[in-house]
């Protein structure tokens, strides 16, 4: 027991010495790790902000005979899940698909929203009898500019 004690003490002092020796490096490692973590967090936050600032909305308008089965809704759900994967570079926080039910002028409207990178998926009809229309907010037609006048057409 007595013979063991110096060895353990010695090991303790060795470890303490190693920690003291490597403390600056460990501090540096922790600092670099922290900076990287913060940078990644900022980058992700920036991507989320950018994705949320540029979202696409379409209106889904059913026909009066629209009557899907559960299988059709299941297939639609799988299509809907592609909205998030179409914005794979964006964290989930900014890449959700949104179904919005709202009322305008006394009638209920159903809108589908998502990140702009998923606009092609959003515009794709998911049901046979549901029409996908550009929502009013998305009707951003740019005024035209004509090229210089021509002298005459033939």
């Amino acid at each position: 027991m007595r013979a063991d004690l110096p060895g353990r003490v010695q090991r303790f002092f060795d470890i303490a010495h190693w920690i003291a020796w490597s403390a600056p490096y460990l501090a540096l490692l922790v600092l670099v790790g922290g900076i990287i973590a913060i940078a990644v967090a900022l980058l992700r936050a920036q991507r989320v902000t950018e994705a949320l600032a540029d979202r696409v909305t379409v209106e889904v308008v059913p026909t009066s005979t629209f009557d899907p089965g559960e299988g059709e809704i299941g297939r639609w759900a799988h299509q809907l899940s592609r909205v998030r994967y179409a914005a794979a570079a964006t964290p989930a926080r900014g890449a959700a698909a949104r179904l919005r039910y709202t009322v305008e002028d006394g009638t209920m409207h159903c809108y589908l929203e998502g990140p702009a990178t998923a606009s092609a998926v959003l515009a794709m009809p998911g049901f046979a009898e549901v029409e996908v229309r550009a929502a009013r907010a998305e009707q951003t037609i740019q005024p035209v500019r004509f090229p210089s006048q021509r002298e005459g057409k033939q």
Partner: protein
């Protein structure tokens, strides 16, 4: 005295709540009350779970500023996440051992304590009941632990469910929120949704940020499967019987992927706003080379004219000649600021018959003018005038004598006009008003007959006297109608034309014709369109490669069809050969004669319809091989069209187009300050003269023509007239 009551409707749209009025907002986030592996009730699809939501939303009075929104944010859960979750749930189940209704059947608790006491009493010997096998979970335990996340359960989503209502009164907002919560209460089953309302300012701000931006940051993790969400994953179905649900009449195929996008290119014709395959709206366009003849159908006031106006302005800016018949005059008023640009002013012509002040500058047109014509053109001029007047009078096949008399009289005056022009006096050509003089004033006619060829003269000497009493009033009725309007007198009363559509074609003019307000705008329209047809055919004298493309829009084709069954067919078939691209508009295609309808539809390279009556819609839908149902067309909103075009030589399927107002698409070219300069330019371009001057000349025109051809004054005017005016 009683104060007058103003029954006029308030101007503008329906009243909106003032921006300063207080709005009370209720917010709630729905979260699963129990661990999320326990499922909500599966609602099925019959009746539609959205039925209650639609009923709740139908009570929201948006006109008073109330709002109610439900947003369902979905992020798919990957299979790897799902497997990990399943593994954890199974591990928990193993730790828990056998259980029932969520309670452990072994381990600690009273049962475990009893086992410990028994073991101590027996000196540590194991009893059969404390065996390891007893702690192993059963299959049912494992299934319960995994719950709805069992393999093969379909897609799983992480869900954020937000409800938000707003109203001008706090109780109203609260009532709406209670309604929405009641809608989702029906999902309660093994699990249920409980509302979580943000209380602190920070929580409210976070809620609103999530609500407005689409940020996905649910209060807690909640994964849901498709059967739980199915009722809310889709728009309302046919099983949703609530009335306040927006529905389309039917499906319209998507726009072709290769539809050109219009940004002002000269080789494209804008059609309107089209949703492209990426979901973005852009201005769709047809190619100039593909668009030869167009037909636009649909109800009045649903945007046919606006769509045509957009095309006309775009093509005018790109250097093409355009001819726009605007029966109501509103299109011209809207187009003017967008054409008031220095580079266009020299090309703009305006024929506006709405104003007739004596000092008003107006343009004149003599349909019988033979300036620049030869003897072989007489027959085309005669046909143009005869068919135009017959169309306006809706003679059809019912007035053969009147039609013949009119044609003969037109022929006589055209021949006289040819002589007048040949003798260097185009200012002594007969006008439409001289047709009446020719038919009713025997002395005047007989004095001029020697100027005509013998065959023509023979008709008037031998045949006409037998018809005169019956047929003449039918013909002169037209001129009598014209005589009631000073603007029409001024327009048709000048021997020389300021307006010449052939010149307009060859020099890329921008022509707007507005017969609105005149007594006989149908007559003017018919005469002008027939003249357009005549001028188009006269381009045979120009080599094909030298013919400038000229665009024309004409409304109310039904009226034109009543005179000559083959006229519109001829327009559709022939004008495009001479680089005149005609786009016709009509409300009722079924009123056209069968031959005309067939020709129009056979030759069209653009077929467009806005909302229409069912029969009309069924007719058009049939033309599209039922890619669109008649119900879809009848339920089109205002300013929305379904159209098909020729694209790269092939007919497209019909697709949906949203009409664009001129103000939106040409916002960069709105120049109201340039209108005075444009008016001055039009005066110069068309050699416009004051109304009073034209009418004064018209008073003496009969006598001057007689004097010119016979060398003697007219009997009725010689005594009081100026002798110098009758000396040739």
């Amino acid at each position: 005295m009683t104060a007058p009551v103003d029954l006029a409707k308030p101007a503008g749209d329906r009243p909106r709540p003032a921006a300063s009025s207080p709005r009370y907002v209720q917010r709630a986030e729905l979260v699963l009350a129990m661990p999320d592996h326990k499922p909500l009730a599966s609602l099925g699809l019959n009746p539609d779970p959205l039925q209650q939501l639609a009923a709740a939303l139908s009570t929201v009075r948006t006109e008073t500023g109330e709002r109610a929104d439900v947003v369902l944010d979905l992020v798919p859960v990957s299979e790897r996440q799902l497997t990990r979750r399943r593994r954890r749930l199974l591990a928990a189940a193993r730790r828990r051992g056998p259980s029932a209704y969520g309670e452990k059947l072994t381990g600690l608790g009273w049962g475990g304590l009893a086992d410990s006491v028994t073991a101590a009493w027996t000196g540590g010997a194991k009893t059969p009941s404390s065996s390891r096998a007893q702690k192993l979970p059963r299959m049912t335990d494992l299934r319960d632990a995994v719950g709805k996340f069992e393999p093969g359960g379909g897609a799983v989503f992480a869900v954020q469910l937000l409800l938000r209502t707003a109203a001008a009164h706090p109780q109203a907002a609260l009532a709406r929120m209670h309604q929405l919560l009641a809608v989702f209460a029906v999902t309660s089953g093994e699990n249920y949704l409980k509302p979580r309302q943000p209380r602190t300012r920070h929580a409210v701000a976070a809620f609103d940020r999530r609500f407005t931006t689409g940020e996905f940051a649910p209060a807690r993790r909640q994964w849901m499967t498709v059967p739980e969400l199915a009722g809310f994953l889709k728009p309302p179905t046919a099983k949703c019987n609530a009335s306040g649900v927006v529905r389309s009449g039917g499906l319209v195929p998507p726009a072709p992927a290769n539809l050109p996008v219009y940004t002002g290119q000269p080789d494209l014709v804008p059609l309107g706003a089209v949703t492209y395959s990426d979901g973005r709206e852009r201005i769709g366009a047809a190619r100039v080379k593909d668009l030869l003849f167009g037909l636009s159908l649909g109800k009045s006031g649903h945007g046919k004219t606006e769509a045509a106006l957009v095309q006309a302005i775009a093509l005018a800016h790109n250097g093409y000649g355009v001819w726009f018949l605007d029966p109501h005059g509103e299109a011209w008023a809207r187009a003017k600021p967008y054409l008031a640009h220095p580079q266009l002013m020299a090309r703009v012509w305006e024929i506006n018959l709405a104003e007739a002040e004596p000092d008003q500058m107006v343009v004149s047109w003599n349909p019988l003018s033979m300036e620049g014509c030869t003897a072989k053109d007489v027959q085309t001029v005669v046909r143009s005038v005869t068919e135009g007047i017959a169309a306006a009078q809706d003679w059809g096949n019912h007035a053969p004598r009147a039609r013949t008399v009119l044609a003969r009289a037109s022929q006589a005056l055209a021949l006289l006009n040819l002589k007048a022009v040949a003798s260097g006096r185009p200012d002594l050509q007969g006008t439409l008003f001289q047709l009446r003089t020719w038919l009713t004033d025997d002395d005047w006619r007989e004095a001029l007959l020697p100027q005509l060829p013998p065959r023509v003269r023979a008709y008037w000497e031998k045949t006409f006297p037998k018809l005169a009493s019956d047929a003449v009033p039918t013909v002169t009725y037209v001129m009598d109608r014209l005589d009631t309007s000073q603007s029409l007198q001024a327009f048709f009363g000048s021997p020389r034309s300021g307006y010449d559509v052939r010149t307009a074609m060859d020099t890329d003019r921008i022509v707007f014709v507005c017969p609105s307000g005149s007594e006989s705008d149908a007559l003017v329209s018919c005469l002008l369109i027939h003249d357009l047809h005549r001028a188009g055919l006269s381009r045979q004298d120009t080599p094909k490669h030298q013919r400038h493309t000229f665009w024309a829009w004409g409304d109310e084709l039904t009226a034109l069809d009543s005179s000559s069954k083959g006229f519109l067919a001829a327009i559709a078939e022939q004008l495009r050969k001479y680089e005149v691209r005609f786009i016709g508009m009509t409300q009722m295609a079924l009123r056209l004669s069968a031959i005309t309808r067939q020709a129009l539809l056979q030759n069209q390279s653009l077929l467009s319809t806005c909302a229409a009556d069912y029969d009309e819609a069924a007719f058009v839908a049939k033309r599209w091989n039922c890619h669109v149902t008649p119900e879809t067309i009848t339920e089109l909103p205002k300013y929305h069209y379904v159209m098909s075009i020729n694209l790269d030589g092939a007919r497209t399927k019909p697709f949906r187009v949203r009409g664009l107002p001129v103000e939106e698409i040409f916002a960069h070219y709105d120049n109201p300050a340039g209108i005075p300069d444009l008016d001055k330019a039009i005066d110069t371009n068309l050699r416009r003269r004051p109304v009073g001057e034209i009418l004064a000349d018209l008073e003496d025109l009969d006598a001057e023509i007689l004097a010119h051809f016979t060398g003697r004054p007219h009997p009725g005017t010689a005594a009081g007239g100026d002798p110098t005016t009758v000396i040739d």
